[in-house]
């Protein structure tokens, strides 16, 4: 399903734990890194590779919110909306992004470029409001900063 390099990375991961089941989360990360999301075939593959049932893997994928069960936009915008960010304007930030991108929170643009989602506290409360764009934190945001950032993205 995945090439020998991928398999080698998985083997290295499994070796770090006394039992293969412990590698479920890290291996799912590898799958998502490689494919962009976790599809059912990959869940079955992970299950078989680690000796657990597919239901177990699916249970993990649906429990942990960062695993994507469908492809997201190329630029996945995850806006923190918990209390400290809310106090510093996260709701207006979300509204602005919804208008700007033309999608509701939870959606993906038709061209697949952007997806927008509200998330819980990202541990960056002192730089509120902020969002995580794919892997990277963008902090101390203003609407102008956001607009400039969006325009700069390929």
């Amino acid at each position: 399903m995945h090439g020998p390099e991928f398999e080698a990375r998985v083997d290295a991961i499994v070796a770090k734990y006394p039992q293969p089941k412990a590698a479920v989360l890290p291996v799912l990360w590898e799958v998502q890194k490689a494919r962009g999301w976790v599809d059912p075939a990959s869940e079955a593959w992970v299950a078989s590779r680690l000796g657990v049932s597919p239901a177990h893997v699916h249970g993990c994928v649906t429990f942990y919110t960062m695993y994507k069960q469908r492809p997201s936009g190329r630029h996945h915008v995850q806006v923190c909306t918990t209390l400290s960010c809310m106090l510093r304007g996260s709701d207006e930030l979300v509204a602005h992004l919804e208008r700007r991108l033309g999608i509701p929170a939870g959606g993906t643009t038709a061209d697949g470029k952007f997806s927008l989602v509200r998330v819980e506290c990202l541990g960056s409360c002192d730089t509120a409001p902020m969002f995580q764009l794919n892997d990277d934190y963008h902090e101390n945001l203003t609407l102008e900063k956001v607009d400039r950032l969006l325009e700069s993205l390929p």
Binding site: K16, P18, Q19, K21, A22, A23, V24, L25, P26, L28, W29, L50, V52, H56, G59, C60, F63, Y64, T65, M66, Y67, T81, T82, L83, S84, M86, L87, R88, G89, D91, E92, L93, H96, V119, E120, C121, L122, G123, S124, C125, D126, T127, A128, P129, Q132, D135, D136, Y137, N140, L141, T142, L143
Partner: protein
């Protein structure tokens, strides 16, 4: 008088994440001292004497926790040391600071803890969102292994300890120590029934100790300077040592501030934090310990930020996430947002939390949105009381206790929403983005 920066001494130095920088500032001397001249048990004793209490939220005495581990390792049951880097409590961002800016401090503390409990591997369970921090830690671990501070035969001794970074994937509940263990084992992050306690049977049914990032970051200093020195910082005997405080919300300078335990809240907000964000919007309320603890009204904020002082005020130091709200804050909206968090994060395992958190959020949303009924106010308190104490873990309590405190202390605002279907103080949308 500015206190000595201990935990944050390297933060802000150039290349502070590198081993070279860490060593240049005296790093890994504590590890050397422990491995060459202390036994695991004497190290534990020193930490016990120091009075260090867990910095993750529960404040459990660290040395005591370490002393629960078996004094000998059964080869069939290796000991595991787990670092709780899942930092997800709203209002908290201190562990992130340490990991991103002084990773070797975290690693040295981890290795010292692993030595004390006779572990041969330590897993650092870091929340999935901290991608950058995980990378910093991985690079630091590689450096440490190359210099024999970690890995096989540490500093030439017979003790080996591997360091493994294990990323979570988006679940606040995995910060609960037994849920962390479930997650590390590759399961859904379900908390476990206790007993057994982790020291008796933890991950893979082996003796396990779990400590917070900031907690272990204190240990190198205790080893180097001694327990008595540690007891001289803060408010001994039960509230000793330096503390990282996370200040956020309606203040001019949100951030992480280090001070000896027991920093007065007013000093944190007004001096270190630069005071209220808007001169014409005075302080209204503060949540002192991350969103899981009861709220304090402005008139209750003359209090020292330590474990016992806050407990005496009916709240908790928790994760030291101090969230400041000014007069423009709608307390109903704030509580509804907090309730949403717990509803989203509940693992769903036990009935009162699974059903109750959703119920609380729905009622709060109705009150906030203008369709609240008179009976809803007492209903919130009743449902919260039905959750408290009846759950497998503390997440249910974490949703319920703030709810009770908000409704009781700001009842007039809730009442106003019910009576007038409008907000007493103006909605947060007025805040705007900077």
């Amino acid at each position: 008088m500015p206190a000595e920066r201990i935990l944050t001494r390297n933060v802000g130095r150039p290349d502070s994440t590198t081993l070279a920088s860490y060593e240049a500032n005296g790093g890994y001397q504590a590890l050397r001292k422990a491995v060459t001249s202390m036994t695991p048990d004497s190290l534990t004793e020193e930490v016990k004497k120091s009075g260090l209490r867990g910095r993750g939220g529960a404040g459990f005495p660290t040395g005591l926790k370490w002393s629960f581990m078996p004094k000998e390792v059964d080869p069939k049951r290796p000991h595991y040391f787990l670092i709780n880097a899942d930092e997800s409590e709203p209002g908290t961002f201190k562990d992130r600071l340490l990991m991103e800016k002084d990773p070797h401090l975290v690693l040295e503390g981890t290795l010292l803890g692993a030595y004390a409990i006779r572990a041969s591997v330590a897993y650092i369970y870091i929340r999935g969102e901290f991608v950058y921090g995980a990378g910093v830690l991985e690079r630091a671990i590689a450096e440490a292994v190359a210099k024999r501070y970690a890995g096989k035969n540490i500093l030439g001794s017979s003790w080996s300890c591997e360091l493994v970074v294990h990323r979570g994937a988006g679940a606040y509940i995995c910060g609960e120590e037994t849920a962390l263990m479930s997650s590390l084992e590759g399961d859904r992050g379900y908390p476990r029934l206790k007993p057994p306690f982790p020291a008796a049977s933890g991950v893979w049914k082996c003796p396990t100790t779990i400590n917070n990032v900031e907690t272990v970051a204190n240990v190198p200093f205790i080893v180097e300077r001694g327990a008595d020195w540690f007891l001289g910082v803060g408010k001994p005997p039960k509230n000793s040592g330096p503390k990282l405080y996370c200040l956020s919300g309606h203040v001019k300078r949100p951030g992480v501030y280090e001070a000896p335990l027991g920093l007065p809240m007013r000093e944190l907000i007004e001096e270190l934090g630069g005071g209220m964000l808007h001169a014409d919007r005075p302080l209204k309320a503060v949540i002192p310990g991350g969103s899981s603890v009861p709220v304090l009204r402005a008139d209750e904020c003359d209090v020292d930020l330590d474990f016992d002082s806050l407990m005496a005020k009916g709240t908790m130091l928790g994760s030291a996430g101090i969230m400041v709200m000014d007069s423009s804050t709608c307390m109903v909206a704030a509580m509804a947002r907090i309730a949403h968090f717990y509803h989203h994060e509940s693992c769903g395992q036990c009935t009162p939390c699974r059903e109750g958190c959703g119920w609380l959020e729905r009622v709060l949303n109705r009150i906030e949105g203008g369709t609240g009924l008179q009976q809803d106010l007492d209903l919130l308190i009743s449902v919260s009381e039905n959750i408290i104490g009846n759950t497998i873990c503390a997440l249910g309590d974490a949703a319920a206790m703030p709810t009770i405190s908000f409704v009781k202390k700001f009842r007039d605002e809730f009442q106003h929403h019910v009576d007038h279907k409008a907000c007493l103080t103006g909605t947060l949308a007025l805040q705007g983005v900077r």
